[in-house]
Subunit: 593 residues, 2 copies
């Protein structure tokens, strides 16, 4: 252990580096770094060892993280001056572009859920490592923090330590509880944690708190009373300095006030690269025409995947008997995580598990994935490897009403540049797409349907992401109908009815919404004289618009208004996405759409 005096000098050295780099960048959050300098110094140069993990939940303090990595020998010190510059991996908020960053942050309140996932991964690995999450006091207003807190206590994660940098000041003014630390300790205590209040600038107290935390039998929160801008008189505890770098003169003054910082210390932290596996599994012998819901096929495939790939873990939020992850939960209890009803924490835990090489499958109703939208979008900046499965998608779920319908999920995932968006229409495609998602490195989305649908494909069919299936085609086709999921079955009915009326239609099962096979779509559209109908069980603006961008103008059948409770057939008819509506569109498009 280095002498306390040296750790204190190191805190000042980190302060100066944070001020330097933000002034060089012309932007950033130096005062938010200054408040946590002792905490970072203690963690990086005394407390943490190899196998321990650190998450900077208050991501705007990135400059001090970069400074600590530089002092620890992982970054060339000169690189700190490139903070926030376009060629540098030292971004304004931590992302996985910087190889030591496993958890991207910057949207507040997400680090603790990731920490729960990381600590669970350490436990699964029996690595013995501990996880440290540095939180801001302001972000403790985010409910996701308390979802994570409850979850950490539920899983008995005594290896998890949260540090609240209670610096009293948010962006626009004081935080809710300012320096009344008891609010924090009482909350953490009520959520099943040990909670210690300390002076976050007193190195000796901090080290003692970390030692106590290491001996706790519960997760431990260290509430550190700190001052924003600590160490510089014109910044310290002053409002109005959030996210503002110093100018050259102010920097000089600040440096001289901070004073002695001449120290070098070794760090025992280590960068452990994480590998990803990808194992396949044997297909189920589904029979053509057999009635199986895609969520059932998903559930079965997940179990098989669990057997072939020990990195696969499942997370669910009290709907495992709806999403059909329950078989996996029964078969692999140690790799299954019940999240109760806390979708943000579930997604954040998955980010943490993925960061240590696990391959999480996260399941809930498609509609409730919107609850975790911010966490899901942030997952891409952690380079997470996660499959989200959204069941009960669309109005076809019927009587439960619009709150349960999942009519917003596709654009949420479409807007993630590197995500797969897969939408099986039958059991065979569902199973193969689970395999594809598992092999994909990055975010995948599987859109699942509640109701049983007939099996359309046999075991020899393949479903590569970026492909599509032509289910009906003829030389005389006059209209192209593009469907996905449940509407494929409506389109097949419409095909028969239109044929009876002498109109030949081509039917495409667009099981891969992203990537999209633009060339094939364009060529089929051309073959059908540009008469294209897209039919989707989703609010308008998802598949239709995306296909339109590929093939040009088309007729889009989608959910154009807020739906209501009813039976599946009634709803498909009322909102114009059933076979009858498709036939009407076919006839109309041959006049003018």
């Amino acid at each position: 252990m280095p002498p306390i005096k040296d750790l204190t000098l190191m805190a000042n050295k980190l302060r100066i580096a944070s001020l330097d780099s933000t002034t060089a960048a012309g932007s950033g959050h130096p005062t938010s770094c200054l408040s946590c300098a002792e905490i970072i110094s203690a963690l990086f140069f005394s407390v943490m060892g190899p196998g321990d993990e650190f998450i900077l939940s208050k991501g705007h303090a990135a400059p001090i993280l970069w400074a600590a990595y530089a002092e620890a020998g992982f970054i060339d010190a000169a690189e700190l001056k490139n903070l926030r510059k376009i060629g540098s991996v030292l971004e304004g908020h931590p992302t996985a572009r910087m190889p030591l960053v496993k958890i991207a942050t910057g949207s507040l309140g997400q680090g603790l859920s990731a920490g729960v996932g990381v600590a669970l991964a350490q436990r699964l690995r029996r690595s013995g490592g501990r996880t440290y999450v540095l939180l801001g006091d302001g972000e403790c207003a985010e409910g996701s923090i308390w979802e994570a807190a409850a979850s950490a206590a539920h899983y008995g994660l005594s290896s998890l330590c949260a540090i609240v940098d209670a610096n009293r000041l948010g962006q626009s003014g004081p935080t809710m509880h300012q320096h009344d630390l008891e609010h924090f300790t009482r909350k953490f205590d009520a959520f099943g944690w040990e909670a210690l209040a300390v002076d976050g600038h007193a190195m000796e107290d901090l080290l003692a708190a970390f030692e106590r935390a290491a001996g706790c039998h519960r997760p431990c929160a260290i509430i550190a009373k700190t001052f924003k801008g600590k160490g510089v008189s014109f910044l310290e505890n002053k409002d109005g300095w959030h996210g503002k770098p110093l100018n050259a003169a102010q920097l000089q003054e600040a440096r001289s006030e901070i004073g002695a910082a001449d120290v070098r210390l070794p760090s025992r932290i280590a960068s452990v690269p994480v590998g990803h596996t990808a194992a396949g599994f044997e297909p189920d012998p589904y029979r053509l025409g057999e009635m199986v819901s895609t969520r059932e096929a998903f559930g079965r495939a997940l179990v098989k995947l669990g057997h072939s790939d020990s990195a696969v873990v499942a997370l669910d939020a009290d709907v495992m008997n709806s999403t059909m992850t329950e078989s996996f939960f029964r078969e692999f209890p140690e790799r299954s995580f019940q999240n109760f009803i806390a979708e943000q924490n579930m997604a954040g835990m998955a980010v943490g598990l993925s960061a240590l090489g696990y391959k999480p499958f996260v399941a809930t109703f498609a509609s409730f994935l919107t609850r975790a939208h911010d966490v899901i979008r942030m997952a891409q900046y952690s380079a997470s490897n996660i499959t989200f499965a959204g069941s009960h998608a669309g109005i076809s779920i019927g009587a439960d009403g619009p709150s349960q319908m999942g009519l917003e999920d596709i654009p949420m995932f479409l807007s993630m540049p590197e995500a797969l968006v897969l939408y099986p229409s039958d059991a065979v495609s569902a199973e193969r797409l689970v395999d594809a998602a598992a092999r994909h490195t990055g975010i995948s989305y599987l859109r699942l349907t509640r109701d049983k649908t007939p099996v359309l494909y046999d075991g020899s069919d393949t479903f590569p992401p970026g492909g599509l299936k032509v289910l009906r085609a003829d030389e005389g086709d006059r209209v192209l109908i593009i469907a996905a999921g449940i509407t494929v079955h409506e389109a097949l009915k419409a095909h028969e009815r239109a044929k009876e009326r002498g109109i030949h239609t081509r039917i495409i099962d667009l099981y891969s919404i992203k990537p999209l096979d633009r060339d094939a779509l364009a060529s089929h559209a051309q073959a059908c004289h540009g008469n294209v109908i897209v039919v989707e069980d989703h609010y308008c603006g998802a598949i239709g618009d995306r296909v339109s961008a590929a093939v040009g103008k088309l007729c889009s059948l989608c959910v154009k208004e807020i739906p209501r409770s009813g039976q599946r057939e009634e709803l498909l008819a009322l909102y114009g996405i059933d076979a009858t509506a498709i036939v009407a569109a076919v006839e109309k498009i041959l006049q003018v759409c």
Copy 2:
């Protein structure tokens, strides 16, 4: 006050009605109704009076809510048999289609935030009413509950009473804390509430608790120990019955077990219709070419709107100095609500305030509105009247990095059938669009830019939703460039550069993404020989796809990969949405796009 015996009989009557209607519907959650029958009976027939508001946060218990409204005389009893049927307003989960429902629920964990908003509205109105929110125990795992709890304590809402129907069982198994009520009381206590644990089936205890709650000087949580399926031996406290109606034989057995239920009681609850105002304001005298960010113009317009319309309220989540709501906060402190960093609660409070006739403007970074996606989508089912303002949209914010960029906001609002999506490019349009949003009944989204941009319009310009502005047009135009927000300014530069190369381009400012002026776009596209370029500071799949659906195939310039920290100009160039990229696209489209 009715005799306790009668209230107990009423509880049984409500039980029977809940079982009857779900059996008639063939779906629904009867056991979740049975656990809260005494609570509902007490509230509707003893505790609540006119001016009090009730929110069923555990929305899947809708059948007992409909039964209570029927007993209170607001619904014909025969209508209960139409539960979940397509012609009925008695949906599977409460929506505003049923006129007495002010807060739609069904996505769990949202009712308490709405309750905070309703209680604040009652306080603003000085109505003296109290607000009751019935929560499930399972949904207390949602962080949004704790955001709301902190917020209620912060605002000292002693008129707010939460009742937790702690029936021990979730959908897929036991809840996290089962019948260990102390977990709930300690949490609420730590969050600044009074918390009482009671037997939720003992009418006398419940009434006493409600009386104590009414005398509290803090918000009060009544933790009611209940049994799911209470009153029917084969349902009570049994796992595996969530969301399952009884068959006819089971129903008969259950009815006979429940026994005596012959009672009629008056209710003092009242249905108070809520009116909405719409006042305009005088425009600012912005000068052409003056550099003003749209967020600044938004902030100024909001203050003027506050003066002209006393129903306007503002909510912000610790970024008021970024979103520029701070002037409104200074000018109208009593109508301004600091939500600290808790976006879900902010959106939920807005739903509550809107339910009582206020007109909330909810502001944060566009990226952080994703945090409230589930609450925002649910707001449409409450028929809420809310404007969301997302500032710092797009990569043009620069050095802060992708977590702060707001690259997913447009599709989130596009997928709401009745929402406006407005995207001003200058101060004048920003101001007029604030006015348009205020006049719109429903959800509006204003996408705001951080950086200053030159004023393009003068005071005589109008910006009706569903319109667009043609900024450059000539008979010889060969390419149509459609831009919005900051890219309008890039497009104008590209226009000049292309002109120098002899190519005439037509420039459209698409300030209204939804509604979209499809006809005008199609006709301009045709005038430009079908050569259309859309350029947007957003991940792909937003404006480009939507416009494509209107005009056919086009070149879409958008953010095609995950962006990084950098300077605005560098980023616009790197991701191909600056003037140079537009000119390149113009030249390319004239060959082939």
